[in-house]
């Protein structure tokens, strides 16, 4: 059986469009150094390391070996994992299993990306099967735009509903010193911003960032000593049920997120997520997904999300605050983005989220989205599982 395992340290760089003052290893080390400081540890205390990003953004093969100067992996075990947009949570999950399995007591997990190294859309387009789909795929934005057109048609949602999500996440980011985009915006600003792929406009879409995030996982017995209030991992569930972009995974709902969150709730004993979860850090790559995917998280029925959005249920002062950090709409170093969701959820549990802290968080949920519309879900609590 799994050992009880908790997150005891979180480190992030500041995130921005382009870091010229550091190379990749140095960027990674900034996050590692901060995570170690956060947990009161030094590199000597780290038993193993896991790392991940998306190879074709930087064109560095065997990143695990390359990273040594920044990750601290010299004469230690390091393993690389990558699964596209979900990479950050894939790596965080591996950090958990490294500890839960009993092989290692204290493990460092690193997600990073220097998106400024390439044209992000060109690089992401290579995720499509080259013979079948690559020439027709316009990066991550295409399917997201297409799915919201379908949702609008079915449920009468509006572009303004999505704009409300964009305003919420951007303005939440004002409270997050690490966020990339920190500008107060209005619904009107969003609606007036240039159309990228109808109905997604510039302010509806995540930016691409340079940045890194590091988490430290520790086993029961050590975690309590390292953190006054560790964020205990209760469950991690994922769904990678599809392999081609043309499969019916997200036309009206995000099936993978439905499946992953349902499995996670069952394992964590959650029956009413709207009431039982205190905060969510969601991988929302576009504001439109902040409408539609709420239904896939079972917090409301089909077509009900626009109403809850308009009522402010997911705002900082609402019943279930979503993305106090600003989420991916404010910050998106792709290989780190999903790990930042886990890290921010952990900060909320640990009570260390500063100006973006939601009061009395006991259960937090983080999601990841990527690849062939795959989803991962992590649930953290302030109590041991």
């Amino acid at each position: 059986m799994a050992r009880r395992t908790a997150i005891v340290g979180i480190g992030q760089t500041y995130h921005c469009a382009r870091r010229d003052d550091v190379n990749g290893q140095e960027l990674i080390n900034e996050a590692v150094t901060r995570a170690l400081e956060d947990a009161g540890l030094t590199m000597k205390d780290i038993d193993a390391i896991v790392i991940g990003n998306m190879d074709h953004f930087e064109a560095i093969n065997y990143v695990d070996g390359w990273s040594v100067d920044g990750s601290g992996a010299f004469m230690r075990p390091i393993m690389k994992l990558t699964t596209g947009g979900t990479s950050g949570m894939t790596v965080a999950t591996a950090g958990y299993y490294h500890v839960a399995s009993g092989f290692f007591d204290v493990v460092l997990a690193i997600g990073w990306e220097m998106n400024s190294s390439s044209d992000t859309t060109a690089a992401i387009t290579t995720c499509c099967q080259p013979l079948i789909e690559r020439d027709f795929f316009a990066g991550a934005i295409g399917p997201l735009a297409a799915e919201y057109t379908a949702y609008i048609k079915r449920f009468g949602a509006t572009e303004e509903d999505a704009a409300l999500v964009s305003v919420r996440d951007h303005n939440n980011a004002l409270n997050n010193p690490h966020a990339h985009l920190r500008t107060r915006i209005t619904v009107e600003d969003v609606m007036k911003s240039p159309v990228l792929c109808y109905p997604i406009k510039l302010l509806d879409m995540c930016p691409r960032s340079d940045g890194a995030c590091a988490l430290i996982y520790a086993c029961e017995g050590k975690a309590e000593k390292l953190a006054p209030r560790p964020a205990w991992v209760h469950t991690i569930a994922g769904s990678r049920d599809f392999v081609y972009m043309g499969e019916p995974f997200q036309h009206e709902e995000l099936i993978t997120l439905e499946r992953a969150s349902a499995r996670a709730y069952k394992r964590a004993g959650i029956t009413d997520p709207l009431k039982e979860i205190d905060v969510m850090e969601l991988y929302l790559p576009a504001s439109t997904t902040g409408v539609k995917w709420m239904e896939s998280l079972w917090v409301c029925g089909r077509g009900e999300a626009p109403r809850l959005i308009r009522e402010g249920v997911f705002n900082m002062d609402g019943q279930l605050p979503v993305n106090p950090s600003g989420g991916p709409l404010a910050t998106n170093p792709i290989g780190a983005t999903a790990m930042i969701r886990v890290g921010e959820a952990a900060l909320q549990i640990m009570g260390k989220a500063g100006d973006r802290q939601v009061p009395n968080v006991r259960t937090a949920l983080a999601t990841a989205f990527g690849s062939c519309s795959w989803s991962d879900v992590t649930i953290l609590r302030d109590t041991k599982p």
Binding site: T33, T121, A122, A138, G139, A146, H251
Partner: protein
């Protein structure tokens, strides 16, 4: 954070230049049959799961949900309905050439008649006002076909 190292006023960037990484992608028995159908017969072939009966396009060996090997071939299309679409206006680099790609173009997900999954391709219309989910479309084949996805030139509204 930066320490005192390297107080240089200039920050260097290293450029890769045009490194072309070539690949010989094997189509395997399933896609070879699929592409031969496009090339030689102007027909679109899909595979059908012996267990659940789903018809998959693009064709493939394994039905994911059933983990069953498929060996029944069925013809689908050439007509279908638009399941999703988007008009791409964001300019980006073509990863196959390293050159800028011209926009707009329309990325369309077509549920071909007889298929349970959709095929991604181009639509010959870039005005979003003239396109709607649920509209019927038909594959337009090229005269000169070589055995690739581009043997279908694009889909057109009907």
């Amino acid at each position: 954070m930066a320490g005192t190292a390297g107080e240089t006023p200039e920050l260097i960037k290293v450029h890769s230049g045009a490194v072309e990484v070539p690949y010989d992608w094997h189509c395997g028995p399933y896609w070879s049959r699929f592409f031969r159908g496009l090339r030689d017969e102007k027909k679109i072939y899909a595979t059908k799961c012996p267990s659940c009966g789903r018809v998959y396009i693009p064709p493939r060996e394994v039905c994911g949900p059933c983990f069953a090997r498929m060996d029944e071939w069925v013809e689908v299309g050439p007509e279908g309905v638009i399941e999703m679409f988007t008009v791409v206006r964001l300019p980006y680099t073509n990863p196959s050439t390293g050159e800028p790609l011209s926009v707009p173009y329309t990325d369309v997900y077509v549920r071909l008649d007889g298929a349970d999954t959709s095929l991604m391709h181009w639509l010959d219309e870039t005005d979003e006002k003239k396109i709607a989910v649920g509209m019927r479309v038909r594959a337009v084949f090229r005269d000169k076909r070589t055995g690739t996805m581009h043997d279908i030139e694009h889909f057109k509204l009907i």
